[in-house]
């Protein structure tokens, strides 16, 4: 999955995809080629492909482009401002894309040309409406009377929009309306979810008809995807999708054999006692009456609806095996009592095919039996072949959430950064909604985010395992490297060992903590607070020299690319964030990346401010 991969490669200022969104192995997505506009029907002159785009975060509705491929850009004029339609049509659709919104601009994605997810520069909006980014835009009916024409608009649960000119993510699952044989609508269209910058902000939103500015007034089983082109400049990239039909693999017939007794291996079921056998119309481990020391073997016939590539997923508590036409596709746990899961892909021909599924819970153990077989196919959405009840799933506990109320809230807990658990992490939730996590061991920022503050379920539910505090917002993750280093210790790499000298924290206004360190002969105060409008965070480092204060360097940012724009403005990474500072910052090469550092010479007291804008 491209978006996910991208999140895992960068070292600084990368988007984090929360673990809950981690996708199982899946069939490949279809991508919209942006080497030209051939994926679109009769595109207007306002649409072009570009190699790069740029939108100044303070200039209204300006998008500049550079030649090349890979980015779809819309620069409407009074004369050219057409909407854009795909050549293909869709019903049920999974859609992922990235978009860039210039300041003050507006656009939208219309599923089937009819049902809109709004795009808008909504950066900094505290109480989003349906007309903000990731909102489900309202329908319109003059018959409803003046002032009541608009209806069914649904705002995003939280506004996690990023600043103008940065790339943002959308992941959307859309359900098309269903019609009976006479063409009467029997099921409404629905957005099953909309995820904006990694956070789910819409869930199961039913739309009873086309949005106000839809291209079509009727409803149909399929339609083209439309991007609004007449409301302002906008750019897109990494557009990928999966279209689905109402198809499934059918269980034509199946027989089961149920064994009791100690099962040494799936190859040796004969050593156990055959307790019962017969025909079954479903695949479930619940046919077994024993919870342990048992095995089930299913054999039967499946009907494959379409020739093509299929993905199978087998998950079981204990050993399980799945074969099609005598070919062993999946074999999980290999005789062990683990809770394993494996996936594989295979090309199947349309028609009937024999299969076998064997499951065993060989010995004692308190974990309940569980057997789950799922598949995804060509234009076939992932679904289960076993029954829902065959998979044992304990529901997640009610989340224990922490939010600031009135003043800033401090929350100390372990936090995950890449592979490492940060044991010195302190999360700070700000009433402005701009939250951050600080690691006192390295005196560094772990991440910043907006949306919800902290989910402490993994710390406080039952035994508190694995004791992680998890941000519940849309997160921007940093390298976690120490902020300070002795100038003479910095060569080609930034030193990552050493003690940051954390001493204490005290509090400023609104209960905002200020961290104090003693390092390299300096007493350093590190304070992070929102800007006056509560849209981003400003970090202030104050240096008081001691007797032996050394020359130090302050690391403001490190990323694959850092671009100096104007007057202390920098764009960090792949249009991930901006950094703004009045300090005399230098661009250097560190660890093979670009880094922005500020030297602090020994001697005088020194204050450094910089803004992290995302």
């Amino acid at each position: 999955m491209r978006l996910l991969r991208r999140a895992l490669v960068g070292l600084c200022f990368i988007y984090a995809v929360p673990a809950v969104l981690a996708q199982p192995a899946a069939l490949p997505w279809q991508t919209v080629s942006l080497s030209n506009l051939s994926a679109f029907s009769d595109p207007g002159a306002n649409w072009q492909v570009a190699g790069a785009v740029m939108a100044d975060r303070s200039a209204d509705r300006v998008l500049t482009t550079a030649p090349g491929q890979g980015i779809l850009a819309n620069r409407p004029t009074d004369e050219a401002n057409a909407n854009l339609f795909t050549t293909w049509t869709h019903g049920d659709l999974d859609l992922n894309l990235e978009y860039m919104m210039p300041k003050g601009s507006n656009s939208g994605i219309y599923f089937m040309g009819r049902y809109e997810v709004q795009l808008l520069d909504s950066w900094g909006v505290k109480e989003p409406s349906f007309s903000d980014a990731a909102g489900i835009y309202e329908r319109w009916d003059p018959e409803r009377g003046e002032g009541n024409e608009g209806f069914e608009g649904v705002p995003p649960a939280m506004n996690v929009s990023r600043a103008p000119g940065l790339w943002q993510q959308l992941r959307i699952r859309f359900r098309a309306p269903r019609f009976d044989a006479d063409g009467r609508k029997v099921t409404e269209a629905m957005f099953e979810y909309v995820e904006h910058n990694g956070l789910r902000v819409q869930e199961n939103v039913v739309v009873s008809g086309p949005t106000r500015a839809a291209a079509f007034g009727d409803e149909q089983p399929e339609g083209p995807l439309m991007i609004q082109g007449d409301h302002g400049p906008v750019a897109f990239r990494n557009i990928e999708y999966k279209r689905y039909r109402d198809d499934q693999i059918e269980l034509v017939s199946a027989d089961y054999q149920y064994y009791e007794g100690k099962i040494s291996h799936l190859d040796n079921l004969g050593n156990a006692t055959l307790a019962s056998e017969g025909a079954t119309d479903s695949l479930s481990q619940r046919i077994a009456s024993a919870r342990n020391e048992m095995a089930l073997a299913f054999e039967g016939t499946l009907r494959v609806p379409t020739t093509g590539e299929y993905l199978f997923e087998l998950a079981a508590m204990g050993p399980a095996r799945f074969e099609i036409a005598g070919r062993r596709l999946l074999d999980v746990n290999d005789g062990r009592w683990n809770n394993g899961r494996e996936t594989t892909t295979v090309t199947l021909r349309e028609g009937e095919v024999p299969f076998s599924l064997i499951y065993s819970k060989p010995g004692p153990g308190w974990r309940p039996p569980s057997l789950h077989l799922a598949y995804e196919g060509p234009a076939i959405e992932k679904q289960i072949l076993t029954t829902a009840a065959s998979r044992h799933q304990s529901g997640p506990p009610a989340p224990i959430l922490v939010e600031p109320e009135g003043e800033a809230v401090v929350h100390r807990g372990f936090m995950q950064l890449d592979e490492a658990k940060r044991t010195g992490a302190i999360a700070v939730g700000d009433p402005s909604g701009q939250h951050y996590a600080y690691d006192v061991e390295d005196a560094t920022l772990i991440s910043v985010w907006r949306g919800g503050f902290i989910d402490a379920t993994q710390m406080w539910h039952e035994r508190g395992e694995p004791q992680l505090a998890r941000p519940t917002g849309s997160e921007l993750v940093f390298t976690g490297k120490p902020t300070l280093a002795a100038a003479d210790a910095v060569g080609a790499a930034w030193p990552t060992d050493g003690d940051a000298g954390f001493k204490r924290y005290t509090f400023g206004d609104m209960g905002r903590p200020m961290f104090m360190l003693e390092q390299h002969g300096w007493t350093v105060t590190d304070a992070i607070r929102p800007d006056d409008e509560g849209r981003y965070l400003v970090r202030t480092l104050t240096f008081e020299p001691g007797n032996d204060a050394k020359d130090v360097l302050v690391l403001l940012a490190q990323a694959d690319t850092i671009e100096a724009m104007s007057d202390g403005e920098y764009r960090i990474g792949d249009y991930d964030a901006y950094l703004s500072t009045a300090a005399a910052a230098e661009l250097r090469t560190l660890d093979g990346q670009e880094a922005l550092v500020v030297p602090v010479p020994a001697g005088e007291a020194f204050t450094l401010d910089y803004a992290m804008i995302w």
């Binding site: 308190w366 372990f414 035994r463 204490r504 005290t506």
Partner: protein, 666 residues
Amino acid sequence: MTRTLMMTRTLALVLVTAGLLLAGCTPDLPDNPAEEASYYTIEDIPIPEGVELEVGGLATLDDGNIAVSTRRGEVWLIDDPYGDAPTFTRFAHGLHEPLGLLADGPGRFYLSQRSELTLLEDTDGDRVADVYERVVEFPITGNYHEYAYGPELLPDGSMFVTLNVAWVGYGSSPVPWRGWGMRITKDGEMTPMTAGMRSPAGFGVNADGAMFVGENQGDWIGSGRISHADMGAFLGHPNSLNWSGEPDSPVRLARADVPDTGDPMHDVGGDLDNFQQPAVWFPHGLMGISTSDILLNDQGQGFGPFENQLLVADQGHSKVMRAFIEEVDGQYQGAAFPMREGFSSGILRMSWGDQSTLFVGMTSRGWASTGGNKFGLQRMKWTGYTPFEMKEVKAEPDGFTLTFTRPVDATAFANPEAYAVTGFTYMYRSQYGSPAINQEVHPVQHAEVIGDGYQVRLVLDGLREGYVHEIKLDSLASQGGVPLLHDVAYYTLNRIPDGERLAYDASASGGSGIAAAAEARSEDKRVTELPGAWGGAPDTTITIGTVPGLRFDISEIQVAPGATVRLTFNNVDDMQHNLLIVNDGMASAIGEATMAMGLQAEANQYVPNDPRVLYHTSLLQPGSSESIYFTAPAEPGVYQYVCTYPGHYITMRGTLRVGDAGPPVS
């Protein structure tokens, strides 16, 4: 404790006694002399709605008010904790699981967070901490099981903190000083002090100023216990020895010096330097299941007759026990006694308040406790009545001397057959827990009431060093007929003292001890094969499972009178359980009777030989199942089913209705 408070306490005691006299009751005896509650009351301290007071640390302040640190990272100041309307003020928040709290004068507290020892300071007197100061950092990897407990004040003014091992399928020490007790000065100098800890959640100093640390059953730990955590001692969990080679380690024992044989700890460690045997074992299931806080009873006579003993709390069994400790041959050893059960949640902390009020702070912390509540705060107070109890057990060259709180009945207590003494110990091994092994009954040869009638000298043969000795008494009474409140003590005999053996006329004694082994359970109460006479199938089949939190998954079942029944009990929990069908209203009595079996309970699947038990399963391991077959009583009526594994009977029970019609199964 200030002089003023001591005076207040003494005065209060006088007033209580005077009140009793004025009321005209017998001042010496409560109405229900066989109940713990007659001697020690437990009162709730109300907690405001919305405050999740999962108590991790508890401190009494100079003004007699208290402060609590919580698992959720808050510190609360609780004013007027002696009345019905205490006030709660949040002093601090956002801390990482502070499992300890030490007051250091007005507005100052030391506490351990997972990764550091912290000093909280209120600098402007508004009762909210303004400074969160790191005193010293603790090494940690981020495993959920790496708790830090404390601090507790050491006699020299420095502080003591323990660092839990990580849990990776076993207790591991991935960084120094996991599994160690640390000495920390107030200016942040940290030095390793004691190794060999696994989950040292509670500790306290005895009257000599010696630090004792509690421990829970686990890998290498056969049962709960308390041990003397002296400088340089190794308390038994060997993975902490990964770091005994560090330059500042006071322990020289190496990890490779500790073999994993399963032999008794005393046999394995007896000759090894640094190896410290437990001072008092708290046998698992019999004396709690998770030893927690340890607190010296320094209240004079204000908390009853147990001055200078250690109070030892238990989280899983929600109770407070006692330990009497003596020094023999330079080593501490002594006895564990039951004291008071029935607290509302798992006890983690205790602290003395004014007038010998014992504050008890609780959380279940994800481990079920018999108290049932997720958290709680209670007061325990002495009523002024003196229970008839075994107060002390001291080792003698040829037996024990028991000291009682009241003069004993001279005849009954001189009968050797009134005592049953059984020695046992535990396996010392990497595997989790241990059964009580090498059990041996030691018949009492001679019992003699000595001194002023408060003491009994027992003479018996074959005592073994390194063994726990269960001393169980008949249902005896004091002079004047006060029944013995608790009839058992567990003495950990590390050293048999030198000295004179008691001279007595052996021909006059000759006791053989109580018939030690309980009678075998009547097997027809547990039929696991379908009876042939049933014609191949029972009339009724019932399946009962478990749900987390010590409960059955069905609270009521119904069968027809005289029906043949197959009852399948699926233990899907991660603990051991059984299921007994008992007469109506008898679930608690049978649960208590099981506890009273002492050591015999384990060998008998926790099923007492009692006519009120109608049918039962065996003790089922986690994830196992058993079907029993029985015929329902012919008379309609109500019965109960209950799990009698120690600590479970309070919550784990249900109703069996025998009747043709009635309410449907609920």
